[in-house]
Subunit: 318 residues, 2 copies
């Protein structure tokens, strides 16, 4: 039986990955400090270690076949409450993953983020883009922590030939999101269900791309199925120094349209739209170029916003 | 007697700072692993601890009044040989400095770098600029390590009111540089003194700004002399969230002109100019906007390239 380690496996995306790994007959070890993860998210059948990844070392783990590094608060409301811990979770979590992957010659998935592109100058974002990120702002703990984590992955790949694969995850939604994570889809749904005002920051004309979580999980499984030598050949052929893929849904929606769709799908809601000032450092727009993922994985997002929202709304109703 | 801690005090810039602190009657404790620092650089009279900052903790240090965090290899030739250690030195060195500063309510100088601006899109660089940096390249260990270090400083300032001051040091030269650090001024001087070909990467039309080390040291002393409350007022008035200053010389020289100046100042040299291809990720151009430093410190660089080069050439001759 193959063993997989999932850092952050009680979180939104980590819990979906853990569930799929279980279906594939893996022995799954979840490590989560439950800061933003919840016990309710953890699928039955996993081995659960309630620990902070920053307090663990390689010797704490048995030999594993695969490592999924997803431990890090990802919502501004959470990471801004603990900025130093957030940066350190990114850094120490990826170092621990890399050291285990190196010891066990395991495959490793590193969850990076579209936030490494910051407030991008050109659209859509390609893997070749370097990003436009503030080092000293309120969002920096997450953005810069994730950026240097990518750097550490790259150097472990170059120096120690570690079989790490980086994905840059764009805006993702679905069941198991936290109600209070402060991100736009959960905010709108929760506000609509409670009959509260739906808050739009700015004029609502800023666009976002929204990926349903099962599309992301499918991409991850296809990515992890590829053998190292084939991966290396592919990324060398597209002139990227290490395996790194944008995974997201490139369809664009304005925030205002999203709010209206949510209200349409919750016809019983009595909520109204209200507009507030944009917070500082808020990324204006982000959309993935997924050319490389399509080519390498023969994958593209298939879940429409309509059906993804329906699933998510019924999750939040429960 | 005031106590000052200098991480990287056996290095090029750290050794000059240590010497000036001694002149000001400080008890100076230098911590250096001698990877790029040398014993010869350490001024007589300091307490020297030959240790790696990544292996130390707060309890290893007595109460100090000031901390200067300069521990990190800064030349591509050195940091690319140890990329992971370089990133970790940046990260752990700044965390240790911040924790000591927090414990002792000490003033702290954090040495950041113009490299956080990467390959800038606009010139000159202002403190407000976010930079254009590759996360997965060969230079990333230094650039991204330094970027996230700035982030950690910012969050310690915001959360714990630590009295940290960040400087972004632009290209600096002078005595105590390593002969083999691979940077352009030491390369050219050493090549000229040996009668070897002087290597210019690209066409030599790329410009650089060069700051003589005593100008930098003067800026640092003026910066550290300012009281915290005054600093905070100043940076709030210029709409920067934390104290951060560019320190460099904005005068621009082409690499080709520098090579010719070096040859003119070493008339006995038999060297010729040769041209090679630009390495990947090489920053094309960088020049500091020092408006804020001028205003806050009543400072500007006063040493001409001519006289700085003369001093540096006579150092390398010895």
């Amino acid at each position: 039986m193959k063993k997989a380690l999932v850092f952050g496996g009680a979180g939104f995306i980590g819990s979906h990955l853990s569930a799929e790994l279980l279906k594939d007959d893996y022995h799954v070890i979840v490590v989560d400090n439950l800061y933003t993860g919840t016990k309710a998210n953890i699928p039955e059948g996993v081995e659960f270690l309630e620990r902070d990844v920053t307090a663990l070392c390689v010797a704490d783990f048995p030999k594993v076949d695969e490592i999924y590094n997803l431990a890090c608060p990802a919502s501004p409301v959470h990471y801004q409450a603990r900025p130093i811990e957030t940066a350190l979770t990114s850094i120490k979590g990826v170092l621990l993953s890399l050291e285990i992957a190196r010891r066990d010659k395991a495959k490793m998935l590193h969850a990076s983020t579209s936030e490494i592109y910051g407030d991008p100058i050109k659209h859509p974002q390609e893997e070749y883009d370097w990003g436009n990120v503030n080092t000293i702002g309120w969002r920096s703990c997450y953005d810069e922590g994730k950026r240097v984590a990518e750097t550490l992955v790259s150097d472990y790949v170059r120096l120690y030939d570690v079989d790490a694969r980086t994905i840059r995850i764009f805006n993702t939604y679905g069941p198991n999101m936290l109600r209070d994570d402060g991100r736009v889809i959960s905010n709108f749904i929760v506000q609509a269900l409670k009959g509260e005002d739906i808050t739009i920051y700015g004029e609502g004309t800023q666009t976002r791309s929204f990926q349903y979580v099962t599309d992301l999980v499918n991409a991850v499984f296809k990515y992890m199925a590829i053998e190292k030598s084939e991966l290396r050949r592919f990324f060398a052929s597209v002139r990227l120094p290490i395996p790194v893929l944008n995974i997201g849904n490139p369809e664009e929606y304005t925030i205002k349209r999203l709010a209206k769709d949510v209200l349409r799908l919750i016809p019983e809601s009595s909520s109204r739209l209200v507009f507030k000032a944009l917070p500082s450092d808020d990324p204006k727009k982000r959309r993935p170029d997924i050319t490389l993922a399509k080519k390498l994985l023969d994958w593209e997002p298939v879940v429409s916003l309509e059906s993804g929202l329906k699933e998510t709304i019924s999750y939040f109703k429960r």
